[in-house]
């Protein structure tokens, strides 16, 4: 999807450091040379077009609660079905098909470790597929929202 210059500039400038003040969109507008109404309209449109998943905070997993990356090896012809079951499980927030014997990779989140274990056990039981559970041991990269390479995009 091609975005116009104003949308691109907005994304470049505000993947982080969104102002915390009474009228944050007005402050963004001033910096971008737009009106507050335009900023809000553009953000709404970008959300609708699935360019943005949301405007807001990204929580640090290790402080926000419990989370875990897991994978299952689903039979090729049942991938959509298994993926749909995973999506319905409580706490799942990412679920991707990947090219590997372990072909469905998802992240499950929960308020605490015990609830997380219960949710994973329940899902494993329901799917009847062995589940690879891969908690994070150490993170080397802080998610700051990487710079979009607009020139290289199709």
């Amino acid at each position: 999807m091609r975005l116009d210059a104003a949308d691109r500039q907005m994304i470049d400038s505000y993947q982080r450091n969104l102002p915390v003040c009474e009228r944050p969109y007005e402050e963004m507008a001033r910096a971008l040379g737009l009106t507050e109404e335009e900023v809000i309209q553009r953000l709404s449109a970008l959300q609708e077009q699935q360019v943005l998943s949301r405007v807001g905070p990204v929580f640090e997993h290790s402080q926000a609660g419990a989370s875990l990356l897991a994978a299952v090896a689903a039979p090729e012809e049942q991938m959509d079905l298994v993926a749909a079951r995973i999506n319905r499980a409580p706490g799942v927030n990412h679920n991707y098909a990947r090219e590997h014997t372990y072909n469905l990779w998802f992240v499950m989140t929960a308020p605490d470790e015990d609830t997380l274990e219960e949710r994973l056990d329940e899902l494993e039981h329901q799917l009847k597929l062995p589940m690879l559970r891969l908690p994070m041991v150490e993170g080397y990269h802080i998610d700051l929202g990487f710079d979009i390479d607009w020139e290289a995009l199709p």
Binding site: M1, L3, Y14, Q15, R16, N17, L18, V20, C21, E22, R23, P24, I40, L43, Q50, V51, L52, S53, R54, V55, G56, P57, V58, F59, E60, H61, S62, Q63, A64, G65, A66, S67, L69, I86, N87, P90, H94, N95, Y96, A97, R98, E99, Y102, T109, P111, D112, E113, L132, L134, P135, M136, V137, E138, G139, Y140, H141, I142, D143, G145, I148
Partner: protein, 178 residues
């Protein structure tokens, strides 16, 4: 800070004694869906949580300082923009080199996330994970080749797991129960 979670962290409830703990929990829940697109989003959140606008702003600032919120801004869905090749590259690295290599790889421009995770033998021998959000498969493979050359990884066992479909992608649901 980088240790896996051992339980919920409710310290933010203790640090802000004058605010309703219930209101703060509701605020956490509301924020997982993002900031409302209203002229005064913190006022909108205040109305939904029973806190004041000032309390909402204080809580958000404080959570940023504490690191509970790691960034506040636009969360991009890269696939929509044309980042079609998303590769998870996994490596079987000697344990005593994993931190050094992890930090080195994380510094590479093409690597967007980098983690150490446990091996699960015999099924899963890999202990270092890095993500490359790329525009095309070809570009990702070139970026990976550079990474291997730069960090002398040609003898390190690895696998590339391209993602061909996103079934679900949204923010974490730590508090809200869905």
């Amino acid at each position: 800070m980088n240790l896996p979670a051992t339980g919920p962290n409710y310290s933010y409830l203790l640090d802000t004694e004058s605010m309703s703990a219930w209101g703060l929990l509701r605020l956490r829940e509301q924020l997982e869906n993002g900031l409302p697109l209203t002229p005064r989003p913190y006022q909108t959140l205040a109305e939904r949580t029973g806190l004041s606008e000032q309390q909402v702003m204080n809580a958000v600032s404080q959570w940023q300082q504490q690191g509970l919120i790691k960034r506040l801004g636009l969360v991009v869905k890269h696939r929509t923009l044309g980042y079609r090749a998303n590769a998870m590259v996994v490596w079987n690295v000697p344990d005593d080199r994993v931190s050094t290599l992890g930090n080195a790889m994380a510094a590479a421009a093409c690597v967007t996330l980098c983690y150490q995770r446990p091996r699960r033998l015999p099924d899963w021998p890999y202990n270092l994970f890095c993500m490359i959000h790329g525009i095309s498969r070809e570009r990702v493979l070139n970026q990976l080749a550079d990474l291997i050359e730069q960090h002398e990884l040609s003898n390190v066992d690895h696998a590339i797991l391209f993602s061909n479909k996103a079934y679900l992608q949204r923010g974490g649901r730590y508090v809200s129960n869905c």
